[in-house]
Every structure is written in structure tokens, then in C-alpha cells.
Subunit: 138 residues, 4 copies
Amino acid sequence: MEKYCRQVFYYETDKMAIVHNANYLRIFEEARLYFMDRIGVSYPLVEEAGILIPQVDAYVRYHQTLKYGDEFYVEVRLVEFNGARMKYQYEIHRASDDELTASGFTSHCFVDEEKRLPKNLKRILPEAFEKMKAAIEN
Amino acid sequence: MEKYCRQVFYYETDKMAIVHNANYLRIFEEARLYFMDRIGVSYPLVEEAGILIPQVDAYVRYHQTLKYGDEFYVEVRLVEFNGARMKYQYEIHRASDDELTASGFTSHCFVDEEKRLPKNLKRILPEAFEKMKAAIEN
Amino acid sequence: MEKYCRQVFYYETDKMAIVHNANYLRIFEEARLYFMDRIGVSYPLVEEAGILIPQVDAYVRYHQTLKYGDEFYVEVRLVEFNGARMKYQYEIHRASDDELTASGFTSHCFVDEEKRLPKNLKRILPEAFEKMKAAIEN
Amino acid sequence: MEKYCRQVFYYETDKMAIVHNANYLRIFEEARLYFMDRIGVSYPLVEEAGILIPQVDAYVRYHQTLKYGDEFYVEVRLVEFNGARMKYQYEIHRASDDELTASGFTSHCFVDEEKRLPKNLKRILPEAFEKMKAAIEN
């Protein structure tokens, strides 16, 4: 598990004065790429090796709202990974009171950048594969 | 069911040259508000009556990619509604070949704008309630 | 001059309940690419020919606000073009009362997609060059 | 002058694989609100006092591109302020080589949240007024 923190930006709010629902998928992405970076798997390097990691599906549950200026932290866990696919779980908490504001998951597959055919990280980036493998949390 | 159409904007793409995953929740929102407008329930009027309709949860499955300039249509269905909550299902199709590019659902509740307490559309906007009721598709 | 129209999306608003200031550059882009399409210069085809058209500078003046649901139209004019650079002017009007809500300009250059070196449309896409030339308005 | 830093998010890129032009206005906003916070003028508190600070105009010049993962810093300066209006200048630099990637300015006015009539910070938040006044850099 890694913990990613920042404050809500003004432009992330909508006319309800809360973070717009679509921005939670952006925050999940920030947290996920931070997670990969923290375990030593740089996503820019993965892409340079010719691998893209598009999203397969995503789920968000909105528990509480976040407002402009709120500090929050995301607890992000890699819960599945086999070199060809992976799945993350997320919990977004307001920092001031630790309140759970949103939770969810995203699934991803590994593909080549040309034809978007399946790729396995094990063959292309074996070191990254091992780091990911070691970071799985059940 | 209502059908909402438009083209992909350039700024909706990311460095994979496809519509970024978070933008699908924005497209769902466009389609949903279009649906309400089409059945005669104007969302601006709902908000003027003091009701907000935040998102409770959301799911997206990404089947195919959409690229800049692609025309697409969203088939949007109201599948649950009881005045206090509602649920929509979405299918996004590429217009050129009718390929399903994404599908999913969103759930919503009705709350007052001050304290975010539950509200029932039946009491506050009975006419809108009836129109929504009649538009449910199972 | 071409006229590009649509409604404000919910997610374009911020907590001031108006279209967020950064979204005007997105609307300019929509209008600009619509303009090119209307005069017969498809931007996807330009990119397929290996040309990118990054923005060099941009100016926006915010006269009035736009709210969720407002219909607006953009009057977009190509005011300069020489094959290597171009400049557009924009006026965004609220449709209900023709009020000018924003105005501005953007400048662009033509570069190759690899090294981002200057390119001239005249040599690579002479037909597109002529169409652009003919569309200049002073 | 204050210095605001962060990394480029994946979703900020477009199909040219660079930060999309509209996102620079968002980055300007992040830097500006960080500036106000740093000099002791909390924007959430300003809004609670019933004052909004919409944008009057904005200019961006794009010198170099920023890519996903790039660290950057924004040098933000308050160059004009009289209680009713203010103007900021921005320089965005890539952190790795200090290269100037974008520069620009934004102007703002102070209005009340109801009728959007002009307001003067001096009368409503005199302490914030003095802090702003002291932070002007010519």
C-alpha cells in the first residue's frame, strides 16, 4: 500500500462546489502512477519499452464530498497482477478527519503501442515484473 | 432510451492518442442530462427548485478506444427511479461501425442543496417525478 | 468566418457556478478545428501527413459568464496564415441574447511530429494550403 | 515571488504527448492560489467572506513543451493590486534544466457572490488587503 496526498484544486470543483465525479478517476490515476513509481517501476520507462497500460474497467463509490482546498490522501493497493493484467483498489480520505470520501478499483491490461495486442511484462521488463509481483497485497 | 451523439474533441485525448478514461464519466453525464432534457425534466429547473443530484457510484467498462474526430453515440437508459434515487445504463458506440466502445452505469440520489439531506422528487416536483417514472426501462 | 454552436456541459462549471476560465481555450480549440473541417481541411488528415499544429500563444478576455445549460456560439476567424504559422480570432456569444461572453485569439505553428521542426503546409499539403489561404479574413 | 512545483499528470497530456494548451491556465490558477496561501491570504476564507475573484483576461505563451512525468516549477508574481483588481505574472520552468516552457499573465477583479458587483478587499478584509499590498512586485 502506498499513500498519495495532495489538495483539491479549484478547477476540480463543479457548480455543486464539490470535486466533480469524473475527477476521481484522474485522482485514481495519479495515485496509481505514484504507486508504480514508489515501488521502482517508472511508467515513463514502461512506455519507452513500447508498452501501454490502458484501463479495462473502473468503479467509483462516492461516500462523502471533497471541497476546494481540502487535503486528501489516497490509499492505493495493487491487488492483482500477472504480467498481462493488473488491478488496483483505492480509498480516498479527507486528511482533516480521515473520513472516507471515495473508494473504488481500476483494472488494466498491458498492450503494445502499435496494434494494441496483449503483452506480458515478464518478457519485456523482467525486473519491473518482479517488483510488481512483490508489491501485490491481498 | 435516448441517443446522444457528438464527436470526440481533441483535448479529450491523452498521450495514448485515445479518449482519456476519466472523460467517459463526463460523456455519461452529458448523455444523462440530455436524457432528462428530452423527457421534459430540465436539470437547471431541478436545481432551481433546490435539488441537487450527486453521483452515488459509477462503473465504466472500456471495450474499444475512441480517437480524436470519431463520431459516437450514447444509448442511455433510466433503469431505476423511485423519486429518491435513480440509476442509468450507458452504451457508447462508434458511429462509423456501431462498435461498442464503452458501457457502464451511474447511480444518483436527490438531496437538498444546503445540508445535502435526502429529498424526494415526488413532493417537490411532482410533474417531473411522473415524467421520470414513465421513462423507466427495465 | 464560421459559427460553431453548442451548450455548456455541467462538468465545465466550477464552484462559482460558471464555466471555468481554462475551458475557454478548449472551446476555442473546438471552434478552430470545426473551422478547418468546414473549409475542407481535416485536422486528422493533416496529422496523418505528419504535421502537428501546436499553440504558440493564446489570449482570452472574459466579458460575461456562461452557466450550465447556456447555449453559445463561437464566431471564429482565420486572420493570418502563411503555411508556417496561423492566427485565429474568436468571439463567444450567449445564444439567448447574443451577449459577447468572451473573446480572444490563438496563434499556431506547423511542425513535424518527430523533431518538432518547422514545416510549411504549402509543400506537404498544397491543396489544404490553398483552402486555408482562401479562408483568411482581415 | 513564490515558487510552486509539481509533476505533470498523465491526464494532462493530449495526443501530441504534451501538456494540453488549456491546462496551462489551470497550472496558473494552482500557482496563484498557492501564492495567496503563502502570503497568508486563504482563498477559501476570501470566498467565505462573500468575495469571488473571477478572471478578467489571460495570456499564455508556449515556449517549450512539457511531457508526462516532467517536474516543473512556476514562478508567480503579483504585479498589480489595488483592492478591486489584481494581476499576476507566471513563468513555468522545467525542473530538470530550468528551461522556460511557458509564460503569461492573468488579471482578476473582486466581486460579490450574488450580483457580481465590484467589491474592494480593503473594506471587507483589511488584513488580507495589507498582505496583498505588501506582496506586490514591480
